[in-house]
């Protein structure tokens, strides 16, 4: 380096240009590597989130029919039981059948709301890959 310093007074030629370039290349390579690791970790989290979303969608589909039927069944069973105890056949069965249906619809609506809320929460702020939480 001393031989080249006298040559150029004006520029920032502290190291020889080659050495300096090499050094900076290595620094930027290291930077790129670190950046890649960071991005990979972010992408992993985003992938997990994406897989969870798909699973949730399928799960939602499989869930709703049985939620409706289950509630109707429970309503009918309660009505039947109360009829049997109170001797009001078949009125309470009818009433609770309707209530059961209402409960089933409520289940489905609630499930839908929750799904929407989940989707909104996960994609709302930033469409596409979500940013991992600070604690991840």
């Amino acid at each position: 380096m001393p031989k080249s310093t006298d040559g150029q007074d004006t520029g920032g030629g502290q190291l020889s240009p080659q050495e300096r370039a090499q050094f900076e290349r290595r620094v930027s390579e290291l930077n790129a590597k670190l950046e890649k690791r960071r991005a990979e970790r972010g992408a992993e989290a985003a992938d997990d989130a994406g897989a969870a979303m798909r699973g949730r969608g399928m799960a939602y589909g499989m869930r709703m029919a049985s939620e409706l039927v289950g509630a109707v069944l429970v309503g009918a069973a309660i009505g039947y039981g109360l009829d049997w105890v109170l001797g009001t056949k078949p009125w309470l069965l009818l009433v609770f059948f309707v209530l059961g249906f209402a409960a089933g619809v409520l289940n489905v609506m609630r499930g839908y709301e929750r799904l929407q809320a989940d989707i909104k929460r996960e994609t709302g702020g930033n469409i596409g890959h979500s940013v991992p939480d600070d604690d991840d």
Binding site: D48, A52, G55, R56, M58, A59, M62, R63, S66, E67, V69, G70, A71, L73, V74, G75, I78, F96, L99, G100, A102, A103, G104, L106, N107, R110, R114, A117, D118, R121, D133, D135
Partner: protein, 261 residues
């Protein structure tokens, strides 16, 4: 043609009696025991090395762990009250992780074991799925009342409802709550039952057409293709049902921790 119901037959292997209750060791019990032994054996042995660079088996175990942990975090981590940014602060719900994990892996293993020809599918029996659903239901009730006392009953009283329709709404909410273990158990049971019956019926078609010989043998390609596609679908269903069961467990537990939507 084989009877598609035959595969669900309970075989009484070792007659046992527990305080007057019929505790016979059946083929269903055998497969539940097998599942328990397989799962715990796998999870414990694969982690024997505890290496930071995992072996194949260890990464499978870790994958399962992360999968369920993410499910628990996603479903219970937010509290569904829209001001819960406390992703890492409220770790209380993580104490239910072992329960959710056990439910998930147990159902998954039972479902998958059932996919092996000739093996018994415990989850195609209502007693097993109802038992699991009741376990969740009772846990939710205990956690709900232990955590919130009678405040847990707020779950049945939505806010902002006019007083004159309140009884109706409360009745509907109670039915909705009670319908959970029913739909929870019936869904798993019905899916596994229907899937296995369908597979068996198609397998029966193949055997029947092959047995008829000649040109009918070539026709057996059709149900074979269907059976192959259905088997793939069944594997997906076997996984998804375990997933749904575990995820709903998380949701119900979340309701128990934070009642009053």
């Amino acid at each position: 043609m084989p009877d598609p119901i035959h595969q669900f037959e309970i075989k009484r292997l070792i007659p046992l009696d527990l305080f007057g209750l019929d505790a016979t060791f059946t083929n269903s019990a055998l497969f539940m025991l097998l599942a328990a032994v397989l799962v715990s054996g796998f999870l414990i042995l694969s982690m024997q090395g505890r290496s930071l660079v995992p072996t194949r088996l260890q990464s499978l175990a870790e994958m399962l762990y992360e999968f369920v942990a993410n499910m628990v975090r996603d479903t219970m981590g937010h509290g569904h009250d829209d001001h819960g940014h406390g992703h890492g602060h409220d770790q209380g719900y993580m104490k239910f992780f072992p329960l959710v994990f056990t439910i998930f892996i147990f159902i998954l293993t039972l479902n998958m074991l059932g996919m092996i020809p000739g093996f018994f599918t415990s989850t195609s029996h209502l007693a097993v799925t109802a038992g699991l659903a009741l376990l969740v239901f009772v846990t939710v009730l205990i956690v709900g009342f232990a955590k919130n006392g009678f405040g847990f009953l707020k779950l049945f009283v939505p806010s902002g409802v006019p007083i004159y329709v309140l009884p109706l709404v409360v009745a509907i909410e109670i039915i909705s709550f009670l319908s959970r273990p029913i739909s929870h158990s019936v869904r798993l049971f019905a899916n596994m039952l229907a899937g296995h019956i369908t597979l068996k019926v198609f397998a029966g078609f193949i055997i029947m057409l092959l047995g008829a010989g000649g040109a009918y043998g070539i026709l057996s390609i059709l149900p074979l293709t269907m059976a192959t596609a259905l088997t793939a679908l069944e594997f997906l269903v076997a996984f998804l049902q375990a997933y749904v069961f575990a995820m709903l467990t998380c949701m119900y537990l979340n309701d128990a921790l934070h009642p009053g939507h």
